[in-house]
Every structure is written in structure tokens, then in C-alpha cells.
Amino acid sequence: MKIEAIEYGDRSVYTVSAFNRGVADWISRLPSLWVEGEVTELRRQDRWQSVFLTLKDPADGACLAVTMPRGQFDALRLDLADGERIHVFGRPQLYEARGDFRFRALTIERFGLGDHLAALERLKRKLADEGLFAPDRKRALPRFPRRIGLVTGNDAAAKRDVLTAITARFPPARILVAETYVQGPRAASAIAEALREICDAPEIDVVVLARGGGSFEDLLPFSDERLIRAIADCPVPIVSAVGHEQDVPLSDLVADARASTPTAAARLVVPDLAELNARLERSRAALARGTRSALDRERRRLDLARDHLRRAPLLMLERRRAALEQTAGRLRALSPRATLERGYAIVRAAGEIVRTSSQVAAGARLDVELGKGGLGARVEETR
């Protein structure tokens, strides 16, 4: 292929497009070959034509962008995870429009566990054997922390997301933020140091360790033994909010609680103020209801007492009258009336019962009481 240059006197100049086309053409003549490395940043989406991944040299971190048509990649059924060691057969290619250099894969083969994964697995087993991940080491998180420590990278997103989630749930939350390196070789010890410092700050009752999503390598510091031990030694409870749901750095295992999103972290460390207020409101309503019902109850009791009070005197009277009538009944049953019924009579003169004839004289007026009725009579003679 002939690449045309523009001539400016004795200087030949190429357009970007011509330059890229020239380099691409030259690169395309390189042979196909195998390259070994670790998978990082595997990006695959159903609507994309190609699958992208970065092949990383575990020795010095050198990177190579790799693409593969999605159909071919899917047909391999590799189910690759970040950190896995692979061999890629392909050829170098320049994406002309962008001048991007990449390795176009023709096939991919898995080559055992990545060094990182294997090392990580060994560390995980060692720490687990020491009991660092044991459930009985987990401390309960405070319901109302006086102050929350937030250890986060200087990548603004993770910090902002956690702060927003916490203050949205509990606006009066007091948060002390410690920013530190979260990536690179110094990250693990820097995070551990930040953690120790924030735990020494006054009134810190819980600490959130936050890091947004990232590649397998990005999250490696959160599986570093130094940091894991620092978390285990931390005097206050720790929530690990590192990476996404599918990432399980060792910090997640050693922390007292794990959160896969900033919102989940917020739910763990602060109560929902709106819900607290609603509950308080319900309690207050119940209180008012309770008081009113007690009042009603007392009023009913009083009404009942008043009714009894009103009825009591009449009731007492009724009882006395009944007793009186009963006594009167007995009195009458015993009265000489019964005797009179048998034919006897009681004779009175001037109100006095006449017992001897000498009490009256002839012509005296007599009252005679009979069994039924009575007579007025006069004395004919006395004997």
C-alpha cells in the first residue's frame, strides 16, 4: 500500500489518518502468536460486537488490551474471572480510527489459577485457620453512633456515595472522613494507618471502609494481610463496603459487617430518621389514645357510681319498708285477731278493755270488737 505524504518543501508530512493506516498495515503483517497474562477488566455485554479485556503481566504490571468477537468468545465457554491466568493466541492490530493498539484474540485458553488468586486463597485459608473470620468475632454495630468514621480513597465517587447515603437516611449523622491511597503498592499500609488514626479520634463508634468498584487488581489492597490484621485489631466495629456484590475482598470477611453498596452501608451504620420519627409519631398517637381511653373508663365508672348513689337511698328505703312490712305481717299474724276469729270478742268501755263487770255500769256505752267488724252496744245490766 502506498501512503501519500504532503510535501512542505523538503519536509514530508502525513495526515493522522494516513499515518494510522500505514502503521496498521505494517502491524497487520506481524505474525500471529501466543501471549500469557492475567485477565483483568473483562468487559462483555450482549449488545456489543466484541468482548474486551486487559491482559496483565503479573511480574511488572505491564498491560495489553485484548479484544475478541463476542460470538467466538462465548463459543469458548471459558467463564473467565478477573485474575485468572490465560494464554491468548492472536495478532496485534491498530484500531485506525482511534490509533488504539490492541491484541486481537483468535482463541483463549485458561492457564491455571492466577498467581494472585492462588496467593489470595492461601492467605484466606491461613487467616481463616487463625479464626479471624469466625462469626463469634463479629461485633454488633451501634444503633446510634455518636460519630462515624469513613475511610475512603480520594476517588470522590465512593466517598460522596457513602456520605449521601448516610445523610439521606440520618441527616444529623456526624461523619469524620479520612482519605487515603486505595490503589497501588502503598495502599494497604496507608489504609491500615488511616484506620488506626480514625479509630483514635474521639467518639468514633463505627467505621466504614469504602471503595467503589474496580478491577481485581484495584481491590487487591483490601485483601492485603497488613490491612486484614489492622481491621481485626480495630477497637471499634468496622463495615467493609468495598467493590460490588460479586467482589469478596478479605476485608469483607474480617470486618464486623459487609455492605455491597453505599446504601447498604448506610443501613448498617445509622437508623432511618424518617422511620424513627414515624414510630415516635405512632407512639404519641397511641399515648393520646391510651390517655383518652383511661379518661373514658374513669368517666364511665363515675357515671356508674353516680347512678348507684341516686338509687341507693330509695333502695335502702325499699329494703326498710320491706323489712317493716314483714315485721308488721308477723305482728298481725300474732294479733288476738285469730282468737277473735274463733268467736271471742274484745269489749272496750271508754277505750279501756273491760275485764270485770264492775268496770261498767248499766247504760254504759261499749265497743265490741269481733272477728269481723265490731258493735256499739249498751250495758243492760251488770252481774
Binding site: P313, L317, R321, L324, T327, L331, L334, P336
Partner: protein, 67 residues
């Protein structure tokens, strides 16, 4: 002799009834006691009527001031 109270009158009446019931009173005594008993009965009955009148009057007044 002043009028006995309701309770005194009732007690006397009951005493009379008990005495009569014991069967130990002579006829004369029985008649005297009976008459006294009737008198006491009237006295008590009148007292109760008076009390009832007062109570009902009071109740009417209480009802009248009730809101």
C-alpha cells in the same frame, strides 16, 4: 315522751313481735302489745313516706341542674 326515731321504733316493734312469737304473753298483754305494735308500724311507715318524698324531691332537683 318524745317521738322515737325510726330505728328505735323499729327495734321496739321487732321486740314486740318476738315477744308475741314466743307465746309467753297473756291475752291482755298480747292485745296491748299488738296495739302498740300497730302504732309503731304507723310511725315507721310515715317516716319512710316522708323520707321517700324528700329523696325524690332531691333527685328531681339534681336532674334539673344536670347539663
Amino acid at each position: 315522751m318524745s317521738e322515737p326515731s325510726f330505728e328505735e321504733a323499729q327495734r321496739e316493734l321487732e321486740g314486740i313481735v318476738e315477744h308475741l312469737e314466743s307465746g309467753q304473753a297473756s291475752l291482755d298483754e298480747a292485745i296491748t302489745l299488738w296495739e302498740r305494735g300497730e302504732e309503731l308500724y304507723r310511725l315507721c311507715s310515715t317516716r319512710l313516706d316522708t323520707a321517700q318524698g324528700k329523696i325524690e324531691e332531691l333527685a328531681r332537683r339534681v336532674e334539673a341542674v344536670k347539663p
